[in-house]
Symmetry: C4
Subunit: 276 residues, 4 copies
């Protein structure tokens, strides 16, 4: 979505852009497989793009993303498309930076811009999970230690109730041997999506995690509180002795409330992140 207010221009330029995009091999990022040029699912509301910009900056503000990581949202008009920024530090993302992707990880309107190497995380989760409308991939610092130990991450308190469903770990080595650790293909993305299953969060061994949700605010909320929960759980374990976690039923009930009140942190975070 380069500029959602100029759909006519976009339509006229479409074919040419796609052609040039397909021919470019931008800095080793977007190696698009040969296939019939895909057609855009059309522009989306500017408010959704503003929310995506906000989500990117919120996740930086809240210490979930640093120079790496990304957030996407499923296209409201076409479940086989999603919107994610071009390869860029999330703190720098603006409305002009979003690219429509298909579920094979191809950029529809990339126009030669580099795409994220790990866009397949998003693509394959959108393919496997029709309920998911937004995806966050991060290397948030308190979460990574739980990806490399035996002790599972569990729900410490009601704000992280969504973790009471269990938190699987995707280990790329188990499936693909020695790699560069990245989810750099549809195949690896499919395996990650399978390990995520029907859960809201999956950890990635020696790498980071993915949080998904039925809306953009809820995916962001889950990414933030997964980080908070990790910090709290590590501290509880360092105090020592048995730890009482939320029961699955408590988690399910508390999560319903979280979904009702998510607007409260979302509005606060958005205001702070956009400097309003």
């Amino acid at each position: 979505m380069r500029n959602p207010t100029r759909p006519l221009v976009a339509a006229l330029c479409g074919a040419a852009l796609l052609l040039s995009s397909a021919m470019l091999s931008p800095m080793g990022h977007a190696q698009e497989p040969p296939s019939p040029p895909p057609v855009s699912a059309g522009p989306v509301e500017p408010a959704l793009i503003e929310d995506l910009v906000a989500a990117s900056r919120i996740l930086v503000d809240q210490g979930v993303l640093d120079a790496f990581g990304h957030v996407s949202v499923r296209h409201p008009n076409d479940p086989s498309r999603f919107l994610m920024s071009r390869s860029l530090a999330p703190a720098l993302v603006t409305a002009e930076d979003f690219v429509e992707h298909d579920l094979d990880g191809r950029g529809i309107d990339a126009n030669g811009r580099s795409l994220f190497l790990e866009r397949f995380i998003h693509a394959e989760i959108y393919r496997a999970r029709p309920d998911v409308k937004a995806v966050v991939h991060s290397h948030s610092p308190s979460v990574i230690p739980f990806s490399v130990v035996k002790r599972p991450m569990k729900a410490m308190y009601h704000n992280a109730a969504f973790l009471a469903q269990g938190v699987p770990i995707f280990d790329i080595r188990k499936h693909f041997g020695m790699t560069n650790m990245l989810v750099s293909s549809s195949q690896i993305g499919r395996t990650l999506a399978a390990d995520l299953g029907d859960k809201p969060v999956v950890l990635m061994r020696g790498h980071g995690s993915v949080a998904v949700g039925p809306s953009l605010p809820l995916a962001v909320f889950r990414a933030v509180y997964t980080e908070v929960n990790a910090k709290l759980q590590a501290q509880a374990l360092s105090i020592g002795g048995p730890v009482t976690f939320l029961e699955a039923e408590e988690g399910a009930k508390a999560d319903l409330t979280n979904e009702q009140v998510v607007g409260r942190p979302w509005e606060l975070w958005k205001r702070k992140a956009l400097g309003k």
Copy 2:
């Protein structure tokens, strides 16, 4: 307290507002039981409202509150009333956002505004503890781990001397089985107040804590130093070996001094929080 400088207008509009408030069911929050419409205990000094705004922002500034949590003060003219903001992130609270509540958790001048789901924490503590003039409920991060382990929180140093009286834990599961973890009724609030007993702080298992005080600055002081103490105690425990805590008598003596000097942090925090 929407606008304490306009008591006449408030008086004239009272009946109509209460009627409309009773009929609204605002977003699943304020489900007020049918009962004779309560009458306001009257406006309070603007300085008290300013202190409440300051308290809300201080608690955010000091890392005690994030997007959730709330602070209240008992009504100076009527011990059966207290003032707390409508359901809103504490960083965003202004003088216009305060609502007079009665001890059943009903908003006297809510005028259709959503109330906090957990206002019953405040209501039932004010009912049970005549000495309490202010209440803070938070999910402050270092405190939560102590709510889910066996090792009790104890007073590490003189600034947290109030903890030397002992720190009880309220476990909602023990009393009410599988819940959404929230103190969402007078009944649950009463049980929490009973577990608090005559202490200044109670932890809530898998949730957070409540700090109370004989004044607003002191309740805020206790909420802040409960968080600091938790951080210090976790660090002492991670160093290992036996830890020497304050004796109860030391705590009682040191707390008297804290009560005398609370104005020093209060003025500093207020100045920072209000950007003055």
Copy 3:
């Protein structure tokens, strides 16, 4: 030192101010014993007062002081006098707030202003240690845990080399039984100074610590790096296994270098703290 640029006015007003100061009992703080009214050792250079203001704010900036704690400097003209602010949060201190104290903890030019309850820490250390020109008392958060455990604080790295001389702990309970934990008299101050001995830092059980130095920048440097060292040592201990600390000889040699380069952090911190 209310205003060092007006020595004549100060001289003229001296007697009257001292008289009124002696009669006031300001909020339970400055209870001055009856004695012949002391005479000021005279004004000091404005640059020294600016350094004291800077020291106060540096210590807040660096996370050593919060709303509590204080820093003092020995009077350059009279070793039996020292300058410390009136009882005030250190972040708020200005040049107008400094009071000349004698070694009995009396304010020479207090003029009715409240003095710190714990000015006796400073007074008795200046009495016992002619080499000390500046004193910092703080509750810096990483240090307090080391005041309540058996494991001694030791020098982790060259910047904290001054700790390689050993870090004694003053336990007020051992000497005075159940107290309010404060060094609120000359007698308690003397005991603390005795426990400090010839070292640069003493911990205070369940309370905080004191750092001293042959100059104001060096006392501030030691307070800052005592806090850093505590954080590093706690982390090393949590990693586990034996820890290699600086040997006493390494510490002595490295500390000589620290004394030579202390101007580098001092200028940086001062610039930040004074917003220049």
Copy 4:
């Protein structure tokens, strides 16, 4: 490099400056051995100097440097020269502060300015490692604990993949007995460079660490992610049980990707550090 835009003036003034530089003994820092006056390798691009200023400030911004530590870059025209600031807190460095050094640690255009005591770290690594184009020396807080324990630092995740080659520790006591802990001579620098070997990072016992790279952005990247990795590893160890680190082959593959994407954090950090 005082001012790279004035090469003619620099050339004319050269001999005189070198002469005066050799005669000064600035505050115990730059004690230059008698030898034929070295000749400058010439000015460098202003963009490189801007990057060096940026690197200094980035490392402060990212919590790697405090008032101490330094970063250098090899001279692009002459492999036997490198550029590093005069002895100054890294947050205060400007384009005017850079000095050309030779591999004996002599300042070519110091012009009487003090040089860093530990410039020999840089000099000897540039001498031993032709592949190295930039060097960072820091006391970053999470790394120091790993310099004094038995448990080795290992690669926790893909961003710190360069650590999977192994992280040696230089212990000055082992080679030189009781010292002031500083790398204050060519001889000590050579030993440090030998312990570094062909690795990207070496820890210094009771002191800090050095990160090197084939470019300035990559050396900075490694310094930052060594600090992050140390924090993550300490947290994983405190959770307990065996930790799964990156295998050497995973590390080698992931590091190739890091080298390709280093521009993303570099541009973000630079923009933040320079306030653009």
